[in-house]
Symmetry: C2
Subunit: 432 residues, 2 copies
């Protein structure tokens, strides 16, 4: 049986694996986490709107009944192209006939001093929980030490004006509102500041200018300060410095300034890499220079389509691209197994969405139609519920959303992870 | 205004604080966590049946609208009886007119070598999550290394045959069933062993013998091995040793062997302590030797009632005792503020419950009536839903239970905490 190894169980890897269920191939999905993360809602975990389990789904449950798909909980250390096997940390290498690289990306800091060290990225569930715990601790700190409240604990700086930055800034504003209105914190709402910084002079670059100004107006109306056309020069533990010399005292810098493949396992595969370290692929998504290897999702420079003009246009690092490229790679593996020629990938743009908060989101369709406000927000909620994996999760998230909407109260504002860090597991007992 | 400081927001502390809402006192509830933990369902978090957020409720949300109750997120270091103030780590002491000690208990290891170091207690949410992650990693380990599967990763030893031990053992058996049936693990169910050890020759000591044998039969029927009348002599990272010399290779020892107040802040208050370090209190729950101080819940040796025979009978460390003693202490504070004499505490026994798993639980009422099987299980579920704090949590837990019951699938089997331990927060950025 033709052996397929899929590295990574994000949107791309899952999509590929699902397309291979019941097909004449033997699939192993490898991930260093035992769960799939629904990344579009990570910002809700980070701002205490949803619980971790709502956006995480055990990978084994997805493939538990698929006889030809196995899951392997392991960290990939590389690909041995000569022996055609994926090498793993702490266990034997996995041989393959076809390999699919879907290892995603990581936060990109552009070499800005202190950014990697002191800011909070938002790409993994761990990132989200770390940020949530940190933010909640800042609120408690401001409550316990009123004299210090204006010095930084209540100032939250978000770097990056793309969808993630806009979403986090909007959600932080709501979290502060709820904290003051419902949670009995002793500080005044006006001492809480949320500052969104972006080097460009507008928000939501892939969207039309009218969507950008809608987002900007909405955020400003909710008390978010915008510092557009400003680059971050440095981040420290108690301040962020902009390129105009402004120093903003803050203990919380959320990094939504973009992602890169550099530093991830994909970058170490020894194949051609394009912008941001993304793996260069052929029109059929096969990895340039390697037979029977594919790269998909955030890890790959996925071409928009096979025509010359489209080939140079790289798809954005979005869930839709990951899902479509994953299914396409799977189909090409099956084509080759059946002795058929492979087909080129073509991206079907379904539009882009960003939510700014309660009853405010913007959806832009490829035909130019734009939906915003309450309708855009409902569309955002509905679409994300559809794509969220697991019926139970869908119901629970729907209840959480309705609950928060009706009661104006936020979700699981519990601080747990720092405590976990302080207590290490029994030594010797956890040699996984 | 009379200042009341309540140390701890478990069942006892919360019950006391709630009874003081809107009364002519100024209350501060202090806890080292920002959430209340619903301890009776911790075992469900530990066995991946419920998510952390389902059994944790932010304390601020409970008192957010109570004008006279404030929450303080801090670690108590002691009580300065002379100056009448509670001393805190990292912030100024809190003065009080009345103080309520509700600091709970901690796992009791009886000095057994290696027990504190290598076993997993189950008293806090962190304990539960740590155990869940550890157990799930063991399953993955057995799957990745089939040769090692029989050597320990799939052997789970539970120490203690009380309600917690019985609940954990039953839930672990279900987790293994689900793992093999639904999650595509490669090992055979029969390689998984769950061993329950207790020094006494029966389970569930506070219950009648017939309840104990029902629990024993049910557990055996679900594949749990019972080692009754056996003491644990030592625990290491890869084995547990019993007093008859048996060595059981295992990487997971769950410690449900009892609790103690020794080692907690209550033990350092310099007042009289009774068995297990529990604080000695008068009939009205006031702390012996200190004016205007009360001890309640697990931290106190709560007398059953004021009659001579009852005074020597100390209440068990149960949620009901905590709730009732908390309300009583609050009432006595109000009595004294109003210049009225205090009244003695009297425990209203509502019965005891233990669940063994799916459609199996036992409830024993004070009049001797016993309900077990499916009816006992439904009673357990219903009662715990009633006591669970937060309407949203009740709904979500109900959905989770129904879901698991109908689909025979388990809950949030995601491994997150060890990853958190590996990544420390940005230094300097998290000086809470």
């Amino acid at each position: 049986m033709h052996r397929v190894v899929i590295v990574g169980a994000g949107f791309a890897g899952l999509s590929a694996a699902r397309a291979l269920i019941g097909k004449p191939v033997e699939v192993t999905v490898i991930d260093q986490r035992n769960f799939h993360t629904f990344q579009p809602m990570l910002y809700e975990v980070a701002t205490a709107g949803l619980d971790s389990g709502d956006v995480a789904y055990p990978i084994r449950v997805i493939f538990g009944k698929a006889a030809n798909v196995a899951f392997r909980f392991a960290t990939v250390t590389g690909v041995d192209w000569e022996r055609r096997q994926v090498t793993l940390e702490d266990s034997d290498p996995l041989p393959f006939d076809s390999v699919v690289v879907a290892s995603g990306a990581t936060a990109r800091y552009f070499g800005i001093p202190g950014a990697a060290e002191f800011s909070f990225p938002l790409y993994t569930l761990t990132d989200a929980r770390r940020l949530r715990d940190h933010v909640l601790r800042r609120l408690e700190d401001a409550d316990s030490n009123p004299a210090r409240a204006t010095e930084g604990p209540l100032t939250f700086v978000v770097v990056g004006g793309g969808p993630t930055g806009v979403e986090v800034a909007g959600a932080l504003a709501e979290l502060l509102d709820v904290a003051v209105r419902h949670d009995g914190f002793g500080f005044d709402r006006s001492t809480g500041r949320i500052i969104l910084v972006d080097g460009l002079d507008r928000l939501l670059t892939p969207f039309k200018p009218s969507a950008a100004s809608y987002a900007a107006d909405t955020l400003r109306g909710r008390g978010v300060e915008l510092r557009l056309g400003r680059m971050v020069r440095a981040v420290t533990g108690d301040c962020v410095e902009l390129d105009d010399g402004t120093r903003i005292p803050t203990e919380t810098v959320v990094w939504a300034g973009g992602v890169t493949v550099e530093g991830t396992i994909a970058a170490e595969l020894g194949t051609a890499t394009g912008s941001n370290g993304r793996l260069t692929v052929d029109a059929d998504l096969s990895l340039v220079g390697h037979d029977g290897a594919y790269a998909i999702g955030d890890a790959a420079a996925v071409p928009w389509g096979p025509e010359p003009a489209e080939r140079d246009r790289v798809c954005p690092q979005l869930a839709q691209v990951a899902i479509q490229s994953g299914a396409h790679a799977a189909a090409q593996i099956l084509n080759r197994v059946a002795g058929r020629p492979t087909e080129p990938f073509r991206y079907h743009d379904k539009g882009i969405m960003a939510t700014i908060g309660r009853r405010a989101a913007v959806t832009e369709f490829p035909n130019g139609l734009m939906v915003r406000g309450t309708l855009g927000w409902l569309a955002w909620l509905g679409l994300h519920l559809v794509y969220l994996i697991g019926f139970r999760n869908k119901i629970v998230v729907l209840i959480n959303w309705s609950w928060r909407y009706l009661s104006w109260s936020s979700g699981p504002r519990v601080i747990v992870s720092d405590e976990l860090q302080a207590k290490s597991p029994p030594e010797g007992a956890d040699q996984g």
